[in-house]
Amino acid sequence: MTGAPTLAVWKFASCDGCQLTLLDCEDELLAIADRVDIAHFTEASSRSQPGPYDVSLVEGSVTTAADAERIRRVRAMSRTLVTIGACASAGGVQALRNFADVREFASVVYARPDYISALATSTPVAAHVDVDFELRGCPVDRRQLLEVLTALLAGRKPNIPAHSVCFECKQRAVVCVAVARGTPCLGPVTHAGCGALCPAHQRGCYGCFGPAETPNAGAQAGLLRAAGLSEADVLRAYRTFNAGAPAFIELSRVTDGPPPGSGPRDLPERGDQGD
């Protein structure tokens, strides 16, 4: 590689929040600009250099036939392709259309629905091209984004654990809102990365980072139901920014399960173990 590696940032169907997270790295942005040649990043600068690029960050999902073509061109121009955020990695909140009729939506929302040319589904980038790394979150976490960029520059594996948000709660001594308040929390089935942001503010986890590595649908449904959610609420809990993530679709199909503390099925003499 001669000279600084080139970086391109692309936008597909998205809210720009993940790109803003990159711009929000104020202190580090100069250091990034020092180390890489930001060749294409229209949110930050109108200057654009032609490809190929060493690294492409892709925000947004694929929702139009034109974008399905464009993502192939981006892939062809990029040595390494990293998706940033729930849209690019799981289809985003706009993947709710995957469970409904997009033409019906368009007819309600737009005065001239015939002007709209959209695919029936919103799909993640990986449904179209090979992706080297998917960074989760809605939006992505600043520290994690820097970690991925730094790791790419150093040629090492990024430290992005795939375990539950619960790990992060305990690592930063956040009191569990499910146990101490009975608040519905998606943390046990959600991919870490936010640093347990919501539980740290006494809110349940909303699942912004999508499914953790091995979610247990039944146990999580039991937990949510015991916290007062109806079966319909359980389904809706998964129908947000990561609605299109296959594991969340699986989870949304299981709306009931063993309540917390229900204990072993095969307990010899129940009732002699305290309360």
Partner: protein
């Protein structure tokens, strides 16, 4: 400043009575000796462990109700400050912190710097309950008992001043008595206190376990403890033993787990287990960590950090080509088998002290004592069936 092992003789010094008001003097005495006091305080709906600036931050009048997967603060009818069973943290958070820097390196300077800050922080651990005293003893064995002592733990542990509080208020999820870890405490502390909050006033019966403890105690206003108050304190602790909400079968746990590797019970528990890792994180003896190598954007500076890990993460058992324990079955089995069985092989004791944290703070309310009961039941049923079959075979002959 703490005794290692159980052989340190108690220095002479009779128990004394310290009024609750005089806890302020204890804080001053500890602060004056350079200790940062860590103790219980109310935060975000639980009694947590935090650095305390004054005795006023202690959870006077607060208790906790615990159950499987459930914890609620509750107001007490008295002013007791230590009348609560285990919260979501243990002293592991202080002595074996969730994140610790192992070393850092600078390319330009060609220098590698080891460890934490030059001088490890000196903590006074205030309100260490007997189960947690035992847990610290286990961590001592795990982290400093081998050929290579863990430098982060050793630094913090060697500098620590331990104020134990005997247990007079066990919770519904407690079973330390059946693990032989409480509710009284005999050794390992600098000071040990038993709290009494009744019609006769809010006071502590305090004894020193080390010269350092006696030195601190000398700075705290106190009076000699008479027979009656000593008896009263002893009775409160004895009574606690009979009020534990749960119990663990005394013997044969190691063999039970070792013999249960193929038990059908793992399917049952895996249906309920979220593999969320909370049980290992709250357990006062779980010590597992992973390492993270981080670099800065310039590539000139690198650091290695140690971070709490858990046998519930896939990365934990990742070997070349994949993770060894992918199923929930195998991960729950690893946790309970290590705590109750293989810990004996590895460290010569149980890895469980009966604090009940893993029961209360498991969002799914999985209860280690119930899972043991289920495993034992299945083993006994299988044994009975085998005996019956053997008998029948004998009769046929």
């Amino acid at each position: 400043m703490h005794p290692r092992g159980d052989s340190v003789p108690q220095p002479p010094g009779d128990p004394v009575v310290v009024d609750a008001d005089a806890l302020a003097a204890l804080f001053l005495a500890l602060g004056g000796r350079g200790y940062t006091v860590v103790g219980p305080t109310v935060r975000d709906g639980a009694i947590v462990l935090a650095e305390l600036a004054s005795a006023a931050e202690l959870p006077f009048g607060w208790g906790a109700e615990t159950g499987a997967g459930r914890y609620r603060l509750r107001e007490r009818s008295d002013t007791a400050a230590f009348g609560h069973s285990a919260g979501p943290q243990s002293w592991k958070s202080v002595l074996h912190p969730a994140r610790a820097r192992l070393w850092s390196a600078d390319r330009a300077a060609g220098r590698v710097t080891a460890g934490e800050a030059a001088a490890p922080p000196r903590y006074a651990l205030l309100g260490v309950r007997p189960c947690d005293m035992r847990a610290i003893g286990i961590l001592d064995q795990v982290l400093t008992g081998g050929r290579q002592a863990d430098p982060v733990y050793r630094g913090r542990r060697d500098g620590a001043f331990v104020v134990a509080v005997e247990c007079t208020e066990p919770g519904a999820t407690c079973f330390c008595a059946s693990m032989g870890c409480g509710p009284g405490v005999e050794s390992g502390f600098d000071l040990a206190m038993t709290e009494l909050a009744d019609a006769a006033g809010h006071r502590f019966v305090v004894r020193a376990g080390t010269p350092a403890g006696a030195d601190v105690l000398a700075d705290v206003p106190s009076r000699a403890a008479d027979e009656a108050v000593i008896r009263r304190a002893g009775a409160a602790v004895d009574e606690a033993a009979s009020r534990m909400g749960r119990g663990m079968p005394a013997d044969g746990l190691a063999d039970l787990l070792a013999g249960s590797r193929e038990s059908p019970h793992w399917d049952d528990v895996a249906a309920r287990c979220l593999t969320c890792g909370n049980c290992t994180m709250v357990c006062p003896t779980c010590f597992c960590t992973t390492t993270e190598d981080v670099t800065d954007l310039s590539g000139e500076h690198a650091e290695r950090w140690r971070v709490w890990d858990s046998c519930y993460s896939l990365d934990f058992s990742y070997l070349h080509g994949g993770s060894v324990r992918t199923s929930g079955q195998s991960r729950y089995r690893q946790w309970i088998s290590h705590k109750l069985s293989t810990w004996h092989d590895q460290f010569g004791s149980s890895g469980c002290v009966g604090c009940g944290r893993c029961i209360a703070w498991c969002p799914a309310g999985i209860d280690i004592t119930q899972e043991v009961a289920a495993l034992a039941g299945l083993r006994d049923a299988e044994k009975a069936a085998q005996e019956k079959a053997a008998q029948q075979k004998g009769q046929e002959r």
